[in-house]
């Protein structure tokens, strides 16, 4: 039973991180129908920025909680900036190009960013400082819920709530939904579509950065390649839930996280990544609309 609970919690944690990344995929897809292949790299850059900033601050002897706050903030700022810039360079000039062009451009961007970090930093795994403090009250349950796990679950919950409120009730949320429904029409009624697209990239990137910092401090090490696998899995989650749908991405992420956790726990850990890929292939073949999407997906 305890093993089951452990796997269950592991699945929830995975799911939370996937959700934070998957939201970026699903929002961007909802608005410009592009699989933003470089999104995984944005997440990786977030984690790297946090690592670098935290290390510098640690050498300077700043307090642990302050480090956490500043590193998280820096990761969010920089990931957003990268997301914004990537869109301007690699996607904006291709708004009216054939469908495959931006996708190839996105793959190119992803490879470029990976190697940029590889060359500017290192190809080795870097130990990630433990930024999250130990909570005394959790000690009795430490085998089931570690402090980082609690923080991940709480943060994800809060972020999801804020995002839902943003999309439902703010002006920019309305503009995003309008653009997702019909870009031309949104333009005609005075929505600044380019701005909406930029903001979507910025929000998606910020979420990925949060995910990057949280998972890096949970696992304890990062390298330039973490974005690739995480990106594909989060994309799988987004498709599983129905790409373009925000609640779908969250649901898909938890389904994928739990599936992976139980499959590696009860079946075989050698094939950890195969489960995700196989799930992706199966969904796309048998239910390309995803769990929450029908033939026409519900968009942002």
């Amino acid at each position: 039973m305890e093993y089951f609970l452990e796997l269950f919690m592991g699945g929830l944690i995975r799911g939370s991180i996937y959700a934070l990344i998957a939201l970026g995929y699903t929002m961007v897809y909802g608005i410009i129908e592009l699989i933003n292949f470089a999104h995984g790299e944005i997440y990786m850059i977030g984690a790297f920025t946090a690592l670098i900033v935290a290390s510098v601050l640690a050498v300077m002897g700043v307090h642990q909680l302050a480090i956490l706050a500043i590193a998280m903030l820096a990761a969010i700022v920089y990931s957003s900036a990268y997301g914004f810039t990537v869109e301007k360079i690699a996607y904006k000039p291709l708004r009216h190009a054939p469908r495959l062009s931006p996708l190839i451009s996105a793959i190119g961007m992803s490879i470029f960013l990976q190697n940029y970090v590889l060359l500017a930093q290192t190809s080795d795994f870097l130990p990630f400082p433990s930024l999250i403090p130990d909570f005394k009250f959790l000690e009795p349950y430490s085998s089931i819920l570690r402090p980082t796990e609690l923080v991940i679950l709480l943060t994800t919950g809060v972020v999801m709530l804020l995002l839902t409120l943003l999309i439902k009730f703010t002006k920019i949320g309305k503009a995003m939904r309008a653009t997702a429904q019909d870009r031309t029409m949104a333009l005609l009624v005075g929505v600044n579509v380019n701005q909406v697209i930029s903001i979507t990239f910025v929000i998606g990137s910020a979420l990925a950065a949060i995910g990057g910092v949280l998972i890096a401090s949970h696992i304890g090490q990062i390298n330039f390649f973490i974005g690739f696998i995480a990106g594909i899995k989060a994309f799988t989650a987004a498709v599983l839930g129905g790409i373009g749908s925000v609640p779908g991405a969250v649901l898909g992420s938890f389904v994928l996280g739990l599936t992976e956790s139980f499959a590696t726990g009860y079946v075989s850990s050698d094939y950890e990544d195969v489960f995700a890929f196989a799930l992706l292939v199966l969904i796309l073949i048998f239910r390309p609309g995803g769990l929450l999407g029908k033939s026409s997906t519900q968009k942002v």
Binding site: E33, I35, I45, F48, T49, L51, I52, S55, V56, A58, V59, A74, Y78, A81, Y82, T85, I89, A90, P93, L94, A97, P98, R99, L100, S101, P102, L103, I104, S105, I107, G108, M109, S110, I111, F112, L113, Q114, N115, Y116, V117, L118, L119, A120, Q121, P127, I232, F235, T236, V239, D270, Y271, D273, V274, F277, A278, L280, V281, L284, I285, P288
Partner: protein, 403 residues
């Protein structure tokens, strides 16, 4: 659009990039010894480079927009030098003769190291031409192409290891198994839309690699298969140099064979159907073309080449393991097709040679090779999606019946 405002824009862009690259380019932390290294010079490089690059970027973007407006009024004579050489007979024959002499002399002038690099480049030419059928002609973005390459390599590796079967027997078998896998993987996924297809093929590619890595009993896992036999020449025992030259000419033959076949395919009923499929799937179907079948032939034929080159790869290196078949390999082959020009045979040949040989010969480039590949994909898509050599449509001879 004054010069001053242009400079100001570029200056701001440079500042933005200096900010953007600051943590990753400037700071380097050694987390174990807790030392921070500040590399301020990098910031200067980034600033200067992004200033000039942004000037160039906007200049070319404007030129491209102006160009597309011109193209609307009439197809301009915007052929590049290469396109002119390849299309005019006057240049074509001397150019081809020179190329032929160069190709034959190459392994005798150059040392074995150079020849080996050339063999690798030629393998990528064939891989590029094979993927070109799938991506360039049929418009199916296959990101798992390397899986078929792996199928070929492991076919030869395993058959040679267990049963001692020779290269020439396995070469066609590798192609056939590649095609078979193409059909098996293609059948369920080909009804998917373009971008989903890309992701699913990527997933398949990774699944095959992960299986090779973990199924020790079958594929010997990460340690791979060693001592695979090199190709034989009528049972003759060749010297080390002889073997390399032999492989070189084998590869030249392979390239010529591929060009011949691909050229004939793309100017045939099937080839036209592929291009039509790429251009407009719905219209293509409405014109009586069986979508699934056409896609499947493209997928299988593309995979055939990958399977055959896989066999050659195993024979060349005599050692294979799953590390040679990562997604990056697929991405590299894709960037060859993108740079060369989708559907253009000459373009793909030249692109493969540039992309494989350049990093080998310019040592400074070799570290930046993947960075370069990524950048090429973005830049080509933005500025010249038709590739360095655009695929020129052929004109046909017909009887005029004027009445």
């Amino acid at each position: 659009m004054t010069t001053f405002s242009e400079l100001k824009k570029s200056f701001l862009t440079a500042l933005w990039f200096m900010f953007l690259t600051f943590p990753i380019m400037v700071i380097r932390v050694n987390t174990i010894d807790k030392i921070v290294i500040w590399r301020w010079r990098n910031m200067g490089y980034v600033g200067v480079a992004s200033f000039f690059l942004s000037l160039a970027w906007r200049y070319f973007l404007r030129r491209k927009e102006a160009g597309s407006k011109r193209a609307l009024s009439r197809t301009a004579n915007s052929q590049t030098l290469l396109e002119r050489i390849s299309s005019e007979r006057r240049y074509k024959i001397p150019a081809m003769t020179a190329a032929a002499i160069g190709i034959i002399m190459f392994p005798f002038i150059m040392n074995s190291y150079q020849t080996n690099i050339m063999i690798t480049a030629l393998m990528y030419v064939v891989l590029g031409l094979g993927l070109n059928i799938v991506v360039g002609l049929a418009g199916l973005l296959d990101l798992g192409y390397v899986a078929f390459y792996a199928v070929g390599a492991y076919t030869y590796g395993l058959l040679n290891h267990h049963f001692g079967i020779g290269f020439w027997a396995v070469l066609p078998l590798g192609g056939a198994l590649g095609a078979l896998f193409g059909v098996l993987l293609g059948f369920p996924v080909l009804r998917l839309r373009g971008d989903y297809l890309a992701i699913v093929t990527l997933g398949f590619g990774e699944i095959i690699r992960l299986i090779l890595e973990n199924w020790n009993e079958f594929s010997y896992g990460p340690s791979g298969i060693a001592h695979i036999a090199r190709p034989s020449l009528f049972g003759l025992k060749l010297s080390f140099f002889g073997e390399i030259r032999y492989l070189y000419f084998l590869m030249i033959g392979m390239v010529l064979f591929t060009i011949f076949v691909v050229n004939r395919l793309q100017n045939s009923r099937i080839g036209r159907a592929w291009i039509a499929l790429r251009e407009d799937e719905i219209a293509c179907q409405a014109m009586g073309i069986d979508k699934t079948r056409t896609k499947l032939t493209a997928f299988a034929l593309g995979a055939t080449w990958a399977g055959m080159v896989g066999v050659i790869f195993a024979a060349k290196t005599t050692f294979i393991n799953p590390d040679s078949f990562t997604f990056l390999e697929s991405a590299m082959i894709l960037s060859i097709v993108v740079l060369g020009g989708m559907g253009s045979i000459l373009g793909v040949v030249i692109a493969a040679l540039i992309l494989i040989l350049l990093p080998e010969y310019l040592r400074a480039f070799s570290d930046y090779r993947m960075l370069l590949f990524g950048a090429i994909m973005v830049i080509m898509m933005v500025f010249r999606p038709q590739g360095i050599i655009a695929n020129v449509r052929r004109s046909y001879n017909f009887k005029k019946v004027e009445d």
